[in-house]
């Protein structure tokens, strides 16, 4: 099934995330990742949802049925900047530590914590680059991992300026 990246602007009201997630679930679509946070407008939140669906048009139409959903777009085939962050705690005894740190240099990943036998590494990049990095470090032993899920923004002047859709930032 095709994976689609959907960007949605929603009114920042209690329960809105629950509505979005509930709708996607009950219509039978599978969420691969979901990232949510503030947009440039105080009253508007912005979501990036990666969803598996044969019929993504129905997903967007159904999302529009939610009163608090302001704008939904499938940006899968648009030119976008896509980013994801992974924070990984690696098994890193002294013997392999230098090897791992040099690997981080290649991927522009940051070592953010050094323990006696562990390293915590912060890796930010395109989802595929993050995936590559994780492949490379996996043999050392991943003790913990947390990924943020994808966030996406359309390049150039076209996009999702929240201010265009609301009259006043109430």
């Amino acid at each position: 099934m095709q994976k689609h990246t959907i960007v949605a602007l929603v009114q920042d009201r209690p329960g809105v995330l629950s509505r979005v997630v509930g709708l996607v679930r009950r219509r039978g679509y599978n969420i691969e990742s979901l990232a949510v946070g503030h947009s440039e407008q105080p009253s508007v939140s912005r979501l990036t949802i990666v969803v598996e669906s044969e019929d993504v048009e129905q997903v967007t139409k159904q999302l529009y049925r939610l009163i608090e959903v302001i704008k939904v777009s499938d940006v899968t085939f648009d030119p976008t900047v896509e980013r994801e962050m992974a924070v990984v705690k690696l098994h890193a005894p002294a013997s392999v530590r230098h090897e791992i740190i040099s690997m981080c240099g290649v991927f522009e990943a940051k070592v953010v914590d050094v323990g006696t036998t562990t390293l915590i590494i912060e890796m930010t990049g395109t989802p595929s680059k993050v995936e590559n990095f994780l492949e490379v470090v996996r043999p050392y032993g991943i003790k913990e991992m947390m990924r943020t899920g994808r966030i996406a923004m359309v390049r150039g002047s076209r996009g999702h300026n929240a201010g265009e859709y609301i009259e006043s930032a109430a």
Binding site: Q58, R65, E68, Y165, E167
Partner: protein, 580 residues
């Protein structure tokens, strides 16, 4: 207007400001402040005390469906509001404007499993158009305004407001100067003109065009425009269960109901047509049968106010998002000149003739009514409907409210609806048994001059007949209940007979003596066991100035035909048991 009000008083005033006149409900602990306040406003805000919240919800639905105005129901926290869940789901499926007002425990104990606490906003999230939890009295003027706006505009639907007890009790100076802030909610009422012209071009050039109409025509009040448009192009019209009444059944272009229990000629017309123009129906699976085989030769034009309905079940060539009435008006405005149409449409009469031929071949209404199987029966259900139909069309000012099951399909098939939209009130999408008696209560409250026939099976009737007490207490005289009593959950039994080798598992049903039950409630009760007594009983019910129940003891194992078996093409209909 800068006087202090309690939250509960604000709720009453907000409803009055939105022209609400009637509410159906039951009090309880958390909602008590609202009941305390509504006493002061009782001249303007009538409260109908129901016997069960499900009854209150369906009554509000009946009120809304028969008028187009918002129906309001009330329940207290916990079981009070969970009892409202069924009518809310029903209103969601049938796009009924409904406002459910719920009491919630105090905000200080919210989330602590307090007495009668239930997360009703969580429970109803998937079955409401929108819902609210209000914890501060200050929010009430805005929330009520927005809630009623959402429930009644665009594609109507149920909205629930859950209000904590302390928000109702708190005294504040309300600010009524509120402006709606709904950047994401802007229903599109006017269809795209280019698409409308394309639709018109396709219809004018079609050889076998067909119109199918649903609830959208009724909700938009577009019956006149529909009639004018169909007549101008001479296109036959199908009315779905919720489209019944959009065009009188006596109209020469009305070819009846399609779908699982629609007419053979109606379904064949869909399979044969080359352009199918759907206005405000949602291609429900009970209409399409197996969707992949539906209307195989047709280009589909679909008008709906809800974009998500277009292309959901059936592939659409020309989508038009808009209000049915506005779109039909635009179509009429852009109509080519009569001469031009005549040139294009020289074969319109052939197509209509073809459909009527199919109708004659595959039997019309009357043949189904009088078919051989029912000849030796003391009381075939069809005879009851013949009597009711005759009386309704004599009387003119009527509403039919049905429950769900065999009797409902017969009510759709066998009664002739010739007196306008909103005359058949039935639970379609959710198909909620127990709908009829309480919904009839709501219809009667809204339409005191109409005569309301609630047609029920003995199964559904026993689910909500406690509202007979409400009807009595309210002094309502214009409700007549016809129980089509066959001692079975009949539609399930029919499927068991046809598809499950007559294993009548869980379907034989006993009941009390319904005549005595009616009398116990203070109603008149009549029993009819023979066809020759049908008309006299109906006349007696009509002439009685008070609620009447007729217990029609019909033949027990009669089936609804024609029928499309589930997941079969609508081209493959069964017309009798012999077709199995």
């Amino acid at each position: 207007m800068s006087e202090t009000r309690t939250g509960a008083q604000i709720m009453c005033e907000a409803l009055i400001r939105e022209n609400v006149e009637v509410m159906f409900g039951i009090p309880g602990g958390a909602i008590m402040p609202f009941y305390h306040a509504m006493w002061e406003y009782r001249e303007k805000l009538r409260h109908v005390l129901c016997r069960h919240e499900q009854g209150a919800g369906h009554a509000a639905e009946g009120y809304a469906r028969s008028t187009g105005r918002i129906g309001v129901c009330i329940g207290t926290s916990g079981p009070g509001v969970t009892n409202l869940v069924t009518p809310i789901a029903d209103a969601m499926m049938d796009s009924t404007p409904l406002l459910a007002i719920c009491g919630q425990v105090g905000s200080l104990v919210l989330g602590k499993d307090a007495f009668q606490e239930t997360d009703i906003t969580g429970i109803t999230m998937p079955i409401t158009k929108h819902n609210y939890l209000v914890k501060r009295a200050e929010e009430l003027p805005y929330v009520f305004k927005e809630a009623i706006h959402i429930a009644t505009t665009g594609r109507p639907g149920p909205v629930l407001i859950d209000i904590t007890k302390d928000a109702m009790q708190k005294s504040i100076v309300p600010n009524w100067d509120v402006k709606l802030n709904l950047p994401g909610y802007k229903p599109n009422y006017h269809g795209n003109r280019k698409q409308i012209r394309e639709a018109l071009r396709m219809l004018a050039h079609a050889k076998k065009p067909l119109i199918i109409v649903g609830n959208g025509i009724i909700q938009a009040g577009a019956s006149d425009e529909l009639r004018a448009f169909a007549e101008r192009l001479g296109i036959p019209v199908l009315t779905t269960l919720h489209g019944i009444g959009a065009l009188p059944e006596s109209h020469p272009l009305n070819i009846g109901m399609p779908g699982m229990h629609g007419w053979v000629h109606a379904n064949r017309a869909i399979q044969d047509c080359d352009v199918l123009f759907n206005i405000g129906a949602r291609f429900d699976d009970r209409v399409t049968g197996k969707a992949s085989t539906f209307a195989p030769n047709a280009k589909v034009i679909h008008v709906d106010i809800d974009p998500s309905e277009i292309g959901k079940n059936v592939k659409v060539a020309v989508p038009i998002v808009g209000d049915a009435r506005n779109v039909l008006k635009a179509l009429l405005e852009d109509m080519p000149a009569q001469e031009e149409l005549a040139a294009l449409h020289s074969n319109a009469s052939d197509w209509m003739e073809h459909i009527r031929d199919m109708q004659d071949q595959h039997q019309g209404k009357q043949q189904y009514v009088n078919r051989a199987k029912t000849e030796n029966m003391a009381l075939p259900p069809h005879d009851v409907y013949a009597g009711i139909s005759e009386m309704l069309n004599l009387h003119g000012n009527y509403h039919v409210v049905t429950d769900v099951g065999q009797h409902q399909m017969w009510a759709a098939q066998l009664l002739d609806y010739n007196h306008g939209p909103r005359t058949l009130i039935t639970s379609g999408g959710a198909a909620t048994m127990g709908f009829a008696v309480p919904a009839a209560l709501g219809v009667a409250v809204a339409n005191p001059d109409s005569i309301i026939w609630a047609i029920c099976g003995d199964g559904g009737f026993q689910m909500t007949n406690q509202e007979m007490a409400t009807i009595m207490q309210e002094g309502i005289t214009n409700i007549k209940v016809a129980v089509i009593n066959n001692g079975y959950l009949g539609m399930v039994r029919q499927w068991q007979e046809l598809f499950e080798n007559k294993r009548y598992s869980g379907t034989p049903l006993s009941g009390p003596d319904f005549v005595k039950l009616a009398e116990a409630y203070g109603w008149k009760g009549i029993r009819v066991e023979r066809s020759e007594d049908v008309r006299a009983a109906i006349e007696e019910a009509n002439n009685t100035n008070g609620p009447v129940l007729i217990d029609f003891r019909v033949e027990r194992e009669v089936n609804v035909f024609p029928m499309v078996p589930q997941n079969k093409s609508i081209g493959e209909m069964l017309t009798t048991e012999a077709d199995m």
